[in-house]
């Protein structure tokens, strides 16, 4: 009987100790944010364009993490982006829905400076603060910071913003994938 009680007491003490340790660890070593959201957010192109119907890349990442949104709603990320998301989340690749805007070549907005009336509507619309300007002053786009989200186009009352594709320069030129030309083998004369 005593032996049994001793065993029970030992087990109880052990359980208490281990429980306290676990509780302490869960408080002390707590992971602050949802790491999955961060991981998904890191894969998104950060254009903040809202084409996914969420108000930015992070809200979309959160929606994916909780299973609210599909992984195929980010046109700027392209099919590559879907593949990466599928790999991260361990789900199947899912093509874009029909009617989804096609991936466009990277472009930046350009304000036609003689038409701009300085209304600041585009400044307010820009998700990355890449438009410089004040009321009644001509605005301009900081091209290096523009993500090409096109959110500034709709609010412009005078339609003075256009998207200009970023051309290939020496800085962003890439080597092509090696293509080995196929030629018919020379036939030997018999």
């Amino acid at each position: 009987m005593i032996g049994l009680l001793i065993a029970l007491a030992i087990m109880a003490v052990l359980a208490l100790l281990l429980g306290a340790m676990l509780g302490f660890a869960s408080v002390k070593l707590k992971v602050k944010a949802d790491p999955l959201v961060d991981k998904i957010d890191a894969l998104l192109p950060q254009t903040q364009c809202g084409q996914c119907s969420y108000p930015g890349c992070r809200p979309y990442a959160t929606a994916i993490a909780v299973g609210e949104a599909d992984i195929n709603r980010c046109p700027p990320g392209g099919e590559d982006g879907i593949r990466k998301l599928a790999e991260l989340l361990g789900v199947d690749y899912k093509p874009f829905d029909e009617g989804t805007a096609a991936q466009k070549p990277k472009s930046v907005a350009l304000i036609s400076e003689e038409l701009c009336i300085g209304c600041t509507l585009c400044v307010q619309a820009c998700p990355v603060d890449a438009i410089l300007g004040a009321a009644k002053q001509m605005h301009t786009i900081i091209a290096s910071e523009c993500t090409g989200c096109e959110l500034c186009i709709a609010p412009c009352p005078v339609d003075c913003i256009s998207m200009v594709p970023v051309g290939t320069t020496l800085k962003n030129w890439k080597w092509d994938y090696p293509v080995i030309p196929i030629k018919p083998a020379p036939t030997k004369a018999a």
């Binding site: 992070r58 009352p157 080597w175």
Partner: protein
């Protein structure tokens, strides 16, 4: 004789150097035009400091370094700057790059040459600055600014690279043979700046004449000339350092971290020319070889077109292009008009006989030949597989970026795989991904900061409001004090005076606008700007009256209202004027009546309308001008053929479309103006601002559609014209 080491791999190649070493360094005739690209290395392109039309002297600086890793450019001869524009550039991409084009005047007139005679006693930083201004860069191929390489503090060994291992190239060989004294003088300057413990000059043992010349020049110096075994690629800095010192540079480190620095013989030669003689880098030795009649080395001015050099060497008519650089690491030029740069060491006439096209590639058989040949101790077949399947992460794990792209693996591959092409592809893809990553990280942080800023502004606004409401509560008690009243009245008077002045100005403008229809558009614009300014003033006044003078709320809001009405009237006038200007053939449409119910909303709406009207006016004006031109030109030519008739008809149709657009734009505002009443009926419904925004968007869409229609009309008309 010290011990020599050896590096892993490497290959033995047919040298083919004797063709071009038979003749001394030649001087080709002065070219008529020199084309100097501003982009030289990984850094920023140089910033031009001359303008088109300027006369420049030989050696005059024409572009300054822009940023640390950028190098200055100098005029290679005297002449006139005729162009600063994108020109074909010696780069595998074949992309154009901004270049300064100089038309030589044939006099080859030097500017006063100013060396740096006091380099022995001067601060190293001063000498470095001098070299930077002289445009001295690594002539071995990287074009990295020498002044930066000279800045490392502790140095054990200074290696001077005269190995020149690639076939056909002999420019360093000839330089050492003919100008050894200057090279040694350059080494002295570098040694003074860097204080190395030893100086080793590595030269491949197939250049016996160069070794002899250098040994003779180094007679009374501590510099040691070392003959290294001929093995490709011993001319690569890391491999030469390994051979001379036995130091192997670990992954992720640079040789400067190991206390070694390496300079090409051409670089130290140009250091000497700059410091001792005040000559910036304006020429370099170029090997002309391959399928040419007179292979030799020449001292060519920078910017000399490749065509002229190849013509001078007698490019074989059976050539199939020109290779810039050696047969292993060079690339075929897509445009032969490019000017040579500071790194162009060799031009090879290519012919199918000399450089037969690569046989078709076969599958990799995993023989391991490439791993045996790799001087960087990589596993080229693994890298090839990963690059081929675009598994760049794995390729990077296998140290893809330690690859020096020497081409030894491609050379030995029995399956004739273009291995280096795959590595280059993988490297540039990884770089592009890194660039994108950086850009998206920046976008993310900017977006997050924006959200934070908006939140902060909201909180600040709430705080201000709270403060103001408490102040307003406290105000009635203190309102009776005379001091605040006397303090407030002058500003109110000022404001009303300003508004009056503005009214007068607007009236005057209106009058002139009506009297002089010739200047209409200008005046309409001015009136619009004026109106906008006044509107802003009125709004500000209103805001101030509302916010800062809680003492007299009724009169203040009255004033604001008055100002708003005035502004609205002016706006209407401006709009009318704009439309009058716009409608050379259009009837004057009445401006939208504006009910000053909701002052701020109205002002905003009106601003948008005014902006639209202005934009439309501008467009219409442009088109009207076009019509005028056409109708004016038609009688003059007296050939009113069918096409022209059709054009006029189209123009008329366009005008009609425009009118329709204006009508729709004008029809909409009354509807908009009813919106302020709506919230009264439906207090829970959408607020004014939203409604107005939607309306505005609809109007915009309509206007845009009309504009597009009109544009299409113009396009078709243009088609007809052409």
């Amino acid at each position: 004789m010290s011990k020599l080491y050896t590096f892993h791999g490497g290959i033995e190649l047919p040298e083919n150097k004797q063709q071009s070493t038979g003749r001394p360094i030649g001087t080709p005739p002065l070219p008529a035009r020199l084309c100097l690209p501003l982009s030289q290395n990984l850094g920023n392109p140089a910033k031009p400091c001359v303008a088109v039309g300027d006369r420049v002297l030989k050696g005059q600086r024409i572009a300054e370094a822009d940023g640390t890793v950028s190098a200055a450019l100098h005029a290679p001869t005297s002449g006139t700057v005729v162009e600063i524009a994108p020109r074909a550039f010696a780069h595998p991409s074949g992309l154009a790059e901004t270049a300064i084009v100089i038309e030589a005047d044939g006099r080859d007139e030097w500017q006063p040459r100013q060396g740096f005679p006091l380099w022995q006693s001067a601060e190293p930083a001063e000498v470095r600055r001098f070299l930077r201004d002289m445009g001295v860069v690594g002539l071995g191929g990287s074009m990295f600014p020498t002044s930066l390489k000279l800045a490392s503090e502790t140095l054990d060994t200074l290696v001077i690279n005269g190995a020149e291992c690639e076939p056909y190239i002999s420019c360093d060989d000839l330089l050492m043979r003919e100008r050894a004294a200057d090279i040694v003088a350059g080494i002295a300057i570098v040694t003074r700046l860097m204080q190395p413990k030893q100086v080793l000059i590595g030269i491949e043992d197939n250049k016996s004449e160069a070794i002899a010349a250098m040994r003779a020049a180094c007679m009374n110096t501590p510099y040691r000339v070392v003959a290294v075994p001929t093995k490709y690629p011993s001319g690569s800095a890391k491999q030469l350092i390994r051979v001379l010192t036995g130091i192997e540079i670990p992954h992720g480190m640079r040789y400067t971290d190991m206390g070694v620095q390496c300079f090409n013989v051409g670089t130290v030669y140009s250091v000497c020319r700059a410091v001792e003689h005040g000559e910036p880098v304006i020429s370099r030795i170029v090997t002309l070889s391959g399928a040419v009649a007179r292979p030799q080395n020449v001292e060519a001015l920078l910017g000399t077109p490749v065509t002229e050099l190849m013509a001078w060497a007698g490019l074989s008519p059976r050539n199939d292009g020109v290779i810039l650089g050696g047969p292993m690491t060079g690339f075929r030029l897509s445009d032969l008009s490019v000017g040579i740069t500071k790194s162009s060491n060799c031009l090879l006439g290519s012919s199918p006989k000399l450089f037969p096209p690569r046989p078709p590639a076969m599958p990799c058989i995993r023989c391991g030949e490439c791993a045996d040949a790799c001087p960087a101790k990589l596993q080229p077949m693994d890298l090839f597989w990963f690059a081929k399947t675009k598994d760049f992460g794995k390729a990077q794990e296998r140290n893809l970026f330690d690859c020096i792209e020497c081409g030894a693996c491609s050379y030995v591959c029995p399956s004739q795989l273009p291995l280096v092409d795959y590595y280059r592809f993988a490297k540039s893809e990884i770089w592009a991904a890194e660039r994108d990553k950086k850009a998206s990280d920046r976008a993310r942080s900017r977006h997050e900061f924006r959200l934070f800023r908006i939140e902060r502004e909201k909180i600040e606004k709430a705080q201000r409001l709270a403060e103001r409401s408490t102040a307003a509560k406290a105000a009635p008690q203190t309102a009776t004090t005379a001091g605040t009243n006397s303090h407030l009245t002058p500003s109110a008077e000022d404001k009303s005076a300003a508004i009056k002045a503005a009214m007068e100005r607007a009236a005057a403008l209106k009058a002139t606008g009506k009297e002089s229809p010739v200047m209409q558009s200008e005046e309409a614009k001015q009136a619009a700007i004026q109106a906008a300014m006044e509107r802003a003033a009125a709004r500000k006044a209103a805001r101030e009256a509302a916010g800062e003078t809680p003492l007299q709320p009724p009169s203040a809001s009255d004033e604001a209202k008055k100002a708003a009405i005035q502004a609205a009237m002016e706006r209407a006038a401006a709009q009318r004027a704009a439309q009058a200007a716009a409608s050379v053939g259009l009837p004057e449409t009445p401006a939208a009546p504006i009910v000053p119910n909701n002052v701020l909303d109205d002002a905003k709406k009106a601003a948008i309308q005014a902006a639209m009207a202005r934009a439309a006016a501008k467009k219409a004006e442009r088109e009207a001008a076009e019509v005028n031109q056409r109708s004016g030109a038609a009688p003059a030519t007296n050939a009113l053929d069918d096409a022209k008739k059709a054009a006029i008809k189209a123009a008329m149709e366009r005008a009609a479309a425009k009118k329709a657009a204006l009508d729709t734009a004008d029809a909409a505002p009354p509807a908009t103006d009813t919106s302020p009443a709506a919230p009264a009926a439906q207090p829970a419904a959408m607020d004014d601002a939203k409604r107005a925004a939607i309306k505005a968007a609809m109007e915009r869409a309509a206007a845009r559609k009309a504009a597009r229609d009109a544009e299409q009309g113009r396009d078709t008309e243009q088609d007809k014209d052409s």
